[in-house]
Each structure stands twice: as structure tokens, then as C-alpha cells.
């Protein structure tokens, strides 16, 4: 009887809705972040309610679709595709479900399914350029250049000047070695120098190269930002995808946003993202450490200290937390506290380059030159590219009068970094000042210095030049050069470099030469001087 009533009711309400199979939990659900789990439970509840209420098909479809988005953004593509299929079936007028299904099908290598899905999305939303753009990219991937071109042109018909479509067409032309046609498409977008996306510049460079104009190609490439390879291609940016990504509450995502904000110098936004990530996962010491680092960058050292101490209470083995704590202590002027923190970081991870660099600097400031040398020696051993550490290693050895050791280290370092002006100038200084055993030292120093032309116009270079001039007996030149260095050093907040420079000036004024190429407490100042060093007599014919 009950069945009969149910049948009659259903008959009266139109066609019964097949709600689809029961959704499944993802594998490893318990290992997901709490906020992500909660999000899933809410979406699952929503679908369960729709099923229990025998909701209309579109509503049920939307519930499936929202659940699909969750699976999608947290990388459960198989489940996401399953959900989107249900959503597209039940909420048949909504283009996004087919669109999202198409994106996943591309990643899954099922290009036939992808084409069908994008075509459905295009039919449902003819005014949107998202689906035709994806179809164009897809046809390009399948080697169907003509069809790809048609889709790109359709996008341009809807949205004249669309950059992504123009770039897509340009790529097609380049593949066909039609560099002129590609450039024709690219040129209108190359106008505003500051805003030109890296992808556009790269394509323009390739077009110039294919036309045989390497110089113009190089010019475009020289303007590429350092991290040009990391950029997301323009072709995949679209509002539907942005909507999909917007549901992410996971810490990875927030952390990435925080890092991006930090790189852009927006430390307030960085702290907001990293703080949200930490709040959503209060037991995660790494996220708390990120938050502390953001607060430190923002100048809120006290708050940063509170966060990093909490992080260390949660995970006493987190080396990076000690590194951040060292930075906080330094900001607070607590050099000893900073030293302890950096030592703690290195005890846990001897490869933390920044901790070792800071520690070397702290030891230098504390007058613990031997300990500083140890740190720089370790950096020198571990990181071949660390030419600053190599410089300080040799400079501090020289400051202790261990010239032979300093020269031996420098010789080895110059094998690794033969073009490093830092290292080459230090060698010049040692030859000019500390080669009591060899009278040819200053002459050799002058020749080496001359080989450095064109010279860097900075304090370090000009003081080095003064040392060589004085060593060769050109005291007037030395005085003049040293005065120019002092003029810059006196503008700096640090007093010690200027004091050292003035002592050297006194020596040169007294017709004497320096005997110490580097002094304890001396800083490496590469601030530009007022005018070029210029060629001097002692450089050309030293005697």
C-alpha cells in the first residue's frame, strides 16, 4: 500500500530523479587538514540532505558539483570526475560542471571526453570565452592546428584583443614558421613595456629569432623577469577556474598566497594569509613558524617571538623555527639570544645556510673572529656558489695576519669563481699590503687591478685602489682616492668603516702604506662613489 502511494506520488511529481551512487570518502581522509575535512563534511551533508529531500535535479546536481570542486582542488581527480559527471547530468543547464570535467579529462589524457565536455560547456554558455579557449588549447595539443585557430579566432570575435587568444594564434604561426604573422599578432600587446607578460615577451623573442634577428630577440629576452619560467600561462586563466580555486582553505594554498604576497613586498597581506593558515591548523608548528616569519617581516618582532616560541613548544626539532627566532632576536637587538637560536637551528640542520651566515656575522660583530672564520669555512665547503662567504673567510684570515692561508684560500676560490670582483680585489689588497716577503707584490697588485677594468665605482674598489697606489709610492693618488671613499663612508650610519678609512688616510698622508689588507670590524661597502676611478699612472706603469 505504501509502495503504491509512493509510486502514485512520484507519478504525480513527474520523472523520478536518479540521485546517483553514494559518494565515497577520499583515501587518507583522516590525514587531511581539519579545515579541509570540515569542508568535506559540510558538502557531504548538503548532498545527503538533497538526496533525503528528493530535491529537484538541478539542486541535487549543484550539490554533486560543489562536492566535485572539493575533490578537484584537493587533488582527488577520479572522485572529482565522478562528481562532475553526476552534476552535469542532473544540473544539465550549468556549463561549469562540464567545463571542470573537461579540465580533468585533459589531465587524464582522455581528450575525446575533454572535447565533448568543453563543447557542452560552450553550448550552454555561448557568451563565455572559457570553453572556446580550452577547445583551442585542446586542439593545439591534438595537433589540429586549423581547428585550434578557428577556436582562437572565435574568442577574438567575442573579445577582440584577447591576449591569451592572440598568443595562442601566435604560437600556431610560430609552429608553422610564420614568424611575421606571429609578430603581427604580438606587436599590439608589446606597447606598454612595464606590463608586458613574460609569455608574450618570450614568444616575441622567438618570432624575432625565427626571422633571423637575434639582436631583437635578445632584447626581448633581456627584459624577462628572473622567475619568468614560473609564470602560469595566460591561456589557462579564466573566471570559472578562479571560482574553483577560491574554495581552497588548505594551508598549502594559503602559504603559497602568503609567499607570493611577501615576494611582492606586501608583508601585511602575507601575514594575513600565513596567520589564517596557522589559525586553521593550530597544531602545525611549520605554519606557525611561517606566520612568525611574516610578522617579523612586518616589523612586529614581539608578536613574531610569541608565535615562534609556541611553534618550538609544539615541535622542538623544527630547525626553521630556530632560524626565525634568531632573526627575531636580532631585530630585538639581542645578539646573544640570536646566536643561541642560530646555533640551535644548525644543531638540527647543519645545512641551514642563512643561520650559518647570520652566525658568522654575529661572531664578527662580537669580535670572535676565529669562530666567524669557522662558519664561513663551513659555508665555503658546503656551497660552492657562496662567494660572499668565501670573501669573508679570506678577509678575516687576512685580518688576523694569516696572509698565506688567506692567499691559499683565495687562490682556490678564484678557481671556482674566477670572475668574482670581490675575491679578485681582496687578492689585490693582500698583494699590495701584506707581501713583505716579496717586493714584487705591489707591482703584481697593480697589474691585477688594471686587469679588473672597467672598475666597479664603489667604496671597496676605490679603497683597494688607494692601497695599491700607496704601496707603489703614489701617496698623493692614494690620498685623493681615500678621501673620495671617506666622503661616502661618512654618510653611512655605521661609524667603524669610516674610522678605519680615516686611519688609512693618515698613513697615506704620512707617505706610508697599509700593512693590513683587511681590518677587524671593517665592513664590505659597495656603495657607489661620486665618479669613476679612472686610469692612473701607477696602473699603467707601476714601479
Amino acid at each position: 500500500m505504501v509502495c503504491l502511494v509512493a509510486i502514485l506520488l512520484l507519478a504525480g511529481c513527474g520523472e523520478a530523479v536518479d540521485p546517483g551512487p553514494e559518494p565515497r570518502r577520499p583515501p587518507g581522509f583522516d590525514q587531511l587538514e581539519p579545515a579541509v575535512q570540515e569542508q568535506f563534511v559540510e558538502l557531504l551533508d548538503r548532498l545527503a540532505r538533497a538526496r533525503a529531500d528528493a530535491a529537484p535535479a538541478p539542486e541535487m546536481g549543484r550539490a554533486w558539483g560543489e562536492l566535485g570542486k572539493w575533490f578537484d582542488v584537493y587533488r582527488f581527480p577520479d572522485s572529482a570526475m565522478h562528481c562532475y559527471r553526476q552534476a552535469a547530468r542532473l544540473d544539465a543547464n550549468e556549463p561549469r560542471w562540464s567545463y571542470y570535467l573537461g579540465l580533468l579529462a585533459v589531465n587524464d589524457g582522455d581528450l575525446d571526453l575533454a572535447v565533448a565536455a568543453f563543447e557542452t560547456a560552450e553550448r550552454l554558455a555561448p557568451e563565455s570565452i572559457a570553453a572556446p579557449m580550452q577547445l583551442a588549447e585542446l586542439k593545439l595539443k591534438r595537433g589540429q592546428a586549423t581547428e585550434a585557430g578557428e577556436h582562437y579566432r572565435r574568442v577574438l570575435d567575442t573579445e577582440p584583443g584577447n591576449l591569451a587568444a592572440s598568443l595562442g594564434l601566435a604560437r600556431l604561426h610560430l609552429q608553422n614558421h610564420e614568424a611575421d604573422l606571429a609578430l603581427e599578432l604580438l606587436k599590439p600587446h608589446l606597447g606598454d613595456e612595464a606590463r608586458v607578460p613574460a609569455e608574450l615577451r618570450y614568444l616575441a623573442a622567438q618570432a624575432h629569432r625565427l626571422r633571423g634577428d637575434a639582436e631583437l630577440a635578445r632584447r626581448q629576452l633581456d627584459l624577462l623577469p628572473e622567475d619568468h619560467g614560473d609564470r602560469t600561462p595566460l591561456g589557462v586563466q579564466d573566471p570559472w577556474r578562479n571560482e574553483l580555486m577560491a574554495i581552497k582553505v588548505n594551508s598549502n594554498h594559503l602559504t603559497r598566497l602568503g609567499i607570493r604576497a611577501s615576494r611582492q613586498g606586501n608583508f601585511r597581506l602575507a601575514a594575513r594569509y600565513s596567520g589564517r593558515a596557522a589559525a586553521l591548523n593550530p597544531d602545525n608548528a611549520e605554519l606557525r613558524t611561517n606566520y612568525a616569519a611574516s610578522l617579523l617581516a612586518l616589523g612586529r618582532a614581539g608578536d613574531a617571538l610569541e608565535q615562534v616560541d609556541k611553534a618550538l613548544a609544539q615541535d622542538p626539532n623544527l630547525a626553521r623555527a630556530y632560524l626565525v627566532k634568531g632573526g627575531v632576536r636580532l631585530r630585538l637587538g639581542d645578539r646573544l639570544g640570536a646566536r643561541e637560536a642560530f646555533l640551535g637551528a644548525l644543531a638540527l640542520d647543519g645545512g641551514l645556510k642563512d643561520a650559518r651566515r647570520h652566525l658568522g656575522r654575529i661572531y664578527q660583530q662580537m669580535g670572535e673572529t676565529e669562530l666567524a672564520i669557522d662558519q664561513y669555512a663551513e659555508l665555503r665547503k658546503r656551497y660552492r656558489e657562496a662567494h660572499q662567504a668565501r670573501f669573508w673567510h679570506a678577509a678575516l684570515l687576512a685580518s688576523l695576519g694569516r696572509f698565506d692561508q688567506a692567499m691559499a684560500a683565495l687562490d682556490a676560490d678564484l678557481e671556482v669563481h674566477p670572475q668574482s670582483p670581490l675575491l679578485r680585489l681582496l687578492r689585490v689588497r693582500i698583494l699590495a699590503t701584506a707581501s713583505g716577503k716579496s717586493s714584487s707584490g705591489p707591482v703584481e697588485a697593480a697589474a691585477l687591478f688594471a686587469g679588473l677594468a672597467p672598475y666597479e665605482h664603489d667604496v671597496y674598489s676605490i679603497e683597494s685602489a688607494a692601497m695599491v697606489a700607496a704601496a707603489l709610492g703614489y701617496h698623493a693618488d692614494a690620498v685623493e682616492l681615500q678621501r673620495r671613499a671617506i666622503a661616502v663612508l661618512e654618510t653611512l650610519p655605521e661609524g667603524e668603516p669610516a674610522r678605519i678609512a680615516r686611519r688609512r688616510l693618515v698613513l697615506y698622508s704620512e707617505q706610508k702604506a697599509c700593512h693590513t689588507p683587511w681590518q677587524r670590524g671593517e665592513l664590505l661597502i659597495t656603495k657607489p662613489v661620486d665618479a669613476p676611478i679612472g686610469t692612473q699612472e701607477w696602473m699603467e706603469s707601476p714601479h
Binding site: P26, V106, K141, L167, Q175, A198, L210, G229, G351
Partner: protein, 602 residues
């Protein structure tokens, strides 16, 4: 000939080879290997795994401890090289090692030497000492070889670094690398550790390496790709977007600059990374290949970097090598959309038979593999999608890759070894302890560098779900068809014999330096066919991923069964020609014994 072993003479070798691969192409060349499955009518190639049948028992152990250390899914490689100079290819398979559990400061667990995992050497028994042909069979000679490679192994590079006629090996590790001098003699395969003496024991995480004469002094040098600064102390727990533990990617660590070691003779090398100009470019190198891309007579170096722009180090040709990275300008640093790809393995070869070396490299799932076509002067165009190689690779993560003319039609086909680096949902749901398995791919070159995916018809072993990494190519049974050695991460090695049935003809070459001292790695041979086609192939052991391949050159000649003319461009200069070389056998060509050609033919 500076040889230490009684070698199989060229004539005798030819007899041996012809016996195994004459006109009776339907008969299998080895009684041990049978494949009763009838050939499908649409089958263009067939590869059959015979590892178990021929005694090549090796299972890679990545040492996974549950902590998802970054090194676990990366290794390891394999080599197909004739170590004992008996005329057949032997095998070296690189092994992983047990890893510490959980404690961030734990060293690698100390194992008693006999219990430690180690890379293994297998001798091929195909050719007997008297030159007669036996059956394909491998014997594990690791213990007697003296090769004690118990580090966490990554890759292997091969080349005769001391010009004594025996191919030496350089093993890259997560940890100090090792250089093993081949001191094989009549009693068998032997190695001697010369790492310390050579100064090549780079302690960083090295991956692929290339052995090539970079400065043209007649001694083989070393280029070593280094990855990132991961150590157990700085191990990070990376997570999926949802927060589940997952393997890290290269962005989680700092990239390392590569290394270049110049061979100074007497088994001593000099690290010239700084002087050569490569030290200032830390990145995340996984694959390396050397070839003269701009055909200026100097070997250039191409490095596949993981999620960083790739390098094309153009050799400036000075006495002390100086190199300039021209990848970006050349169009081979990043994909056509300007994005750096996660490049893993790579090969260089003349895919479109236009006389220059093109580049093909493998990438992450959701990204496509990339084919850069060379315009003859090291200018490249991204032809991934127009060639048909792009779309089928979207669903897999590629690592090792080789160029192989499967049916000897004169067009190079491509095989890629695949296996994910991030957890695959469905496999995790099914409870797989290592849910990264993917099928491999076989692409058939239909001519002109246009490819179709023939994986399904090429042999069941390739569609088996495994976490594949290394691939080496070589003619293991000397039948004129190139075979493949496949290494799996945390799985068994596969020996994929080429059982393609074809009437096409072939020509094998071993290109040797003057006096027949060693393989002239980098030499480019061109065969002139009767239909005016020219095929160019390079003698090399490098390329692919963490692996070393047969330095011999094998040409598929298609229907051309007439004696052919061969021109060889030797590394360091000089072009010579040989005429009337008979198909269906291997020939040894020594520099200085051909007819000099005044103007190089391109």
C-alpha cells in the same frame, strides 16, 4: 688495436651476427626467448620482457621508510655496455639503499657490508670466449667484479676514461659519486675504485651524467647533473593540497649547480665548473646529453632541469672549455608558452632525418613531453603537439626515454619510461603501498618525425603498471634490432627484447678513435641510402635518465639491401668516408682509416 682481450674479429663477429639475424626473421634469435603470441596485423613493433628467463633478476629497493623522503621516487638507472669486450652487452643496474626512519638527524642506517644493498653487474653470456654464439643468458658477477656500490644509487654514465679499451663507469649517488675503472681481463669483469684519485667524488645529490670529450683533447670528460640540496637533516614533510603527506617537489629545496670535470689523464680530473661558466647557475638537473647541436665541431651540453628552464651550454670551443647558456634564445629552455617544464629524461637524435640532432624530453603528468626540432644551427621549435608526441603523454609522468628504430625502417621511434611522483588517487584507494604506477609509452615514427602511440600493440609489458625510471637501449642479442633495458623504482628490472617482425635491413657500426682505442663518443655517422635519403646517428652512451646505452650505432635501412656509403664526422674535426659497407652486420670504423672528405656534408 690497444686491446687486452682476444677480441672477436670483425669478420668473425659478422658471422656470429649474421647467424642470429639473417633472412629468417620470423625465427627467434634465441632459443631461450619465445613469444608464441601471433603478430597482430596492426602491430608495428613488439617488445617482450625476458628478464626472468635469461637470469636478469634484479629488484630495485628505494628504501622507503614511510617518511616520504624526496630521494625515494627518483632512482635508479641502468647501463647496457660491453664491459668485457667480448662482443655482447653486459648490464649494470643501480640500487637504492635503506633509509632512516623518522629521526631528522639520523644518518643512513649502518648495515653490515654483506647485508647492504648494492648495484649489480650482470655478464652477458651470448658470445663465448671463442667468438661463437651461445644463448642469451646473464650471470650476476657483482661479487667477483669488485664493484662495491653501496651508496644510495641514482645513475650510471659510461665511457673509456683512461683510453685502455675498456669502458669505465661513473656512478652517481645521493651522496658521494664513484668512478670505477674497468680492469677486466680474461678472467672476467673487474672494476677498481678510482674515485679518490680522480677527484670526481662529488658529494652532492647527483643524477645523470655524461661522458664526452668536451675539450677535444682525446680524453673523455665528465659532466654531472646535480639536483637539489635535500639531505636527511632538512627533510620536509610535503603535503597534498588537502594536507595529506606526499613527496616533495624540487621547489622545496635549493637547486645545485652542475659539475664539469676535465680529464687530465692518468685517471685525474680537474673540476672546472667555475672556469667553464656553469657554477653560477644552480638548478635542478635530472637529465643530460651531449651533442654538437650547432654543428660547429664542438660538443654542446643540454641539461634537463626539473621545473626550471633547461640549459643548452654551447661549447665556445676554447682549449679550456668555456660554455654559454643559449637555451632561452635557441627556443629550447621552456615550452612554447614560456613556462619551465619539469624536465626529467631526454634524448638527442635526428628524429626527422634532416641531418641534425633534435631534442625530446619527458615531463610531469598533466604536462606533455616536448619535442624540440633543430633547424640545423641549434635553433629549436617546439613541435610537441604537431608531432603527435604531446597529447598521449598528458596522463603520465615520463622519466627515461630512448630513440630506437623498432622496425628498422630508418625512422627513430621513441619509448618513454613512466611513473608518477605524486600519489595517484585510485591506486591509493585500492591500498597500493606505492601508488605511483603508470604504463610506459611507445611512439612509432611514421616518417618525417610524425608519431603515433602504439603502446597497446607493442607488447603487454609496457602497459603493465609500474614506477618506471631508467631506460637504456642497445642490441643485446646482436640481431640488428635494438632492445631495451628498463629499470623500475622499487620494482624489478625488465629486459625488453625487440621481437618486431620485419623485412627491413640494417647496418651496425662501432665508431672507434684512431688506433681503435675506444668508442668515439660524439662521432656522427651518416648513411647514404639508394633513395637519396641520409640517416645520421651519433655514437653516445648518454641521454635518457640516469642510464647509459650501447655506444654502437645501429641504422635501420628500410628496404635498402645494397652496400652503403658511410660518412663519419669525428669529434674534434675531420670527416671520413667508407664505401660499400654491407648491410646485415656490424662494422668497426676507426678514425684515420677511411677516405678523408674535404668538405663536411650536412
Amino acid at each position: 688495436m690497444n686491446r687486452y682481450l682476444p677480441r672477436v674479429s670483425a669478420a668473425c663477429l659478422a658471422v656470429v651476427l649474421l647467424a642470429g639475424c639473417g633472412d629468417d626473421r620470423d625465427a627467434d634469435s634465441s632459443p631461450m626467448i619465445s613469444d608464441a603470441r601471433p603478430q597482430r596485423t596492426d602491430e608495428r613493433a613488439r617488445l617482450v620482457d625476458v628478464a626472468d628467463q635469461v637470469g636478469l633478476g634484479f629488484t630495485h629497493d628505494n628504501g622507503m621508510s614511510g617518511d616520504l623522503y624526496f630521494i625515494e621516487p627518483v632512482g635508479s638507472g641502468a647501463a647496457l655496455v660491453d664491459f668485457d669486450n667480448d662482443g655482447d652487452l653486459d648490464v649494470l643496474l643501480v640500487q637504492g639503499q635503506r633509509l632512516p626512519a623518522a629521526a631528522p638527524n639520523s644518518p643512513m642506517p649502518a648495515e653490515p657490508p654483506e647485508a647492504a644493498l648494492r648495484s649489480r653487474v650482470f655478464r652477458n653470456e651470448l658470445v663465448h670466449a671463442d667468438g661463437t654464439r651461445g644463448e642469451l643468458r646473464f650471470t650476476d658477477v657483482t661479487e667477483s667484479s669488485g664493484l662495491v656500490a653501496t651508496g644510495y644509487g641514482m645513475g650510471v654514465a659510461a665511457g673509456d676514461i683512461d683510453n685502455d679499451g675498456r669502458i669505465d663507469v661513473y656512478l652517481t649517488n645521493f651522496g658521494a659519486n664513484q668512478l670505477w675503472r674497468n680492469v677486466s681481463d680474461a678472467s672476467g669483469i673487474r672494476f677498481q675504485d678510482v674515485t679518490e684519485r680522480s677527484g670526481t667524488g662529488d658529494a652532492r645529490w647527483s643524477t645523470s651524467a655524461s661522458v664526452a670529450d668536451l675539450d677535444g683533447d682525446g680524453l673523455l670528460d665528465l659532466y654531472v647533473a646535480n639536483y637539489v640540496n635535500f639531505r636527511f637533516e632538512n627533510h620536509k614533510t610535503c603535503r597534498t593540497p588537502g594536507g595529506r603527506p606526499n613527496y616533495c617537489g624540487p621547489q622545496s629545496y635549493q637547486g645545485e649547480p652542475d659539475s664539469m670535470f676535465l680529464n687530465k689523464g692518468e685517471l685525474r680530473f680537474e673540476d672546472v665548473s667555475g672556469r667553464a661558466g656553469i657554477l653560477g647557475s644552480p638548478s635542478s638537473g635530472l637529465g643530460v646529453v651531449t651533442a654538437d647541436f650547432d654543428r660547429d665541431g664542438h660538443l654542446d651540453i643540454y641539461v634537463a632541469n626539473d621545473l626550471q628552464p633547461n640549459f643548452l651550454w654551447r661549447n665556445l670551443g676554447a682549449d679550456t672549455p668555456g660554455f654559454e647558456d643559449v637555451a632561452l634564445l635557441s627556443g629550447s629552455a621552456v615550452a612554447m608558452d614560456g613556462r619551465a617544464q619539469a624536465s626529467m629524461g631526454l634524448v638527442a637524435g635526428d628524429i626527422d632525418n634532416d641531418g641534425d640532432d633534435d631534442l625530446f624530453m619527458t615531463h610531469l603528468r598533466t604536462d606533455s613531453n616536448t619535442l624540440y626540432r633543430n633547424d640545423g644551427s641549434a635553433g629549436f621549435i617546439d613541435a610537441s603537439f604537431t608531432s603527435g608526441l604531446g597529447a598521449p603523454s598528458l596522463a603520465v609522468t615520463g622519466f627515461g626515454t630512448v630513440l630506437i628504430d623498432l622496425d628498422n625502417d630508418g625512422w627513430l621511434d621513441i619509448v618513454t619510461a613512466n611513473g608518477a611522483v605524486a600519489i595517484i588517487e585510485e591506486q591509493a584507494r585500492q591500498g597500493s603501498p606505492y601508488p605511483l604506477a603508470e604504463p610506459n609509452l611507445v611512439f612509432y615514427n611514421t616518417g618525417g618525425g610524425d608519431f603515433i602511440d602504439i603502446t597497446d600493440s607493442a607488447g603487454g609489458e609496457l602497459t603493465r603498471l609500474e614506477v618506471s625510471r631508467g631506460l637504456a637501449v642497445g642490441d643485446i642479442d646482436n640481431d640488428g634490432r635494438s632492445d631495451i633495458l628498463l629499470s623500475n623504482n622499487n620494482g624489478p628490472a625488465r629486459l625488453l627484447m625487440n621481437r618486431t617482425r620485419t623485412d627491413h635491413h640494417w647496418l651496425g657500426l662501432r665508431l672507434l678513435t684512431a688506433g681503435g682505442t675506444r668508442d668515439a663518443l660524439g662521432a656522427q655517422a651518416t648513411v647514404f641510402l639508394s633513395d637519396d635519403r641520409r640517416l645520421s646517428r651519433r655514437a653516445a652512451t648518454d641521454g635518457s635518465y640516469l642510464s647509459a646505452s650501447d655506444p654502437r650505432v645501429l641504422f635501420g635501412l628500410g628496404d635498402d639491401d645494397q652496400p652503403v656509403t658511410v660518412e663519419v664526422r669525428w669529434p674534434g674535426g675531420g670527416v671520413e668516408q667508407w664505401q660499400g659497407l654491407s648491410p646485415g652486420r656490424y662494422h668497426e670504423l676507426e678514425a684515420g682509416t677511411g677516405t678523408p672528405v674535404e668538405t663536411a656534408t650536412r
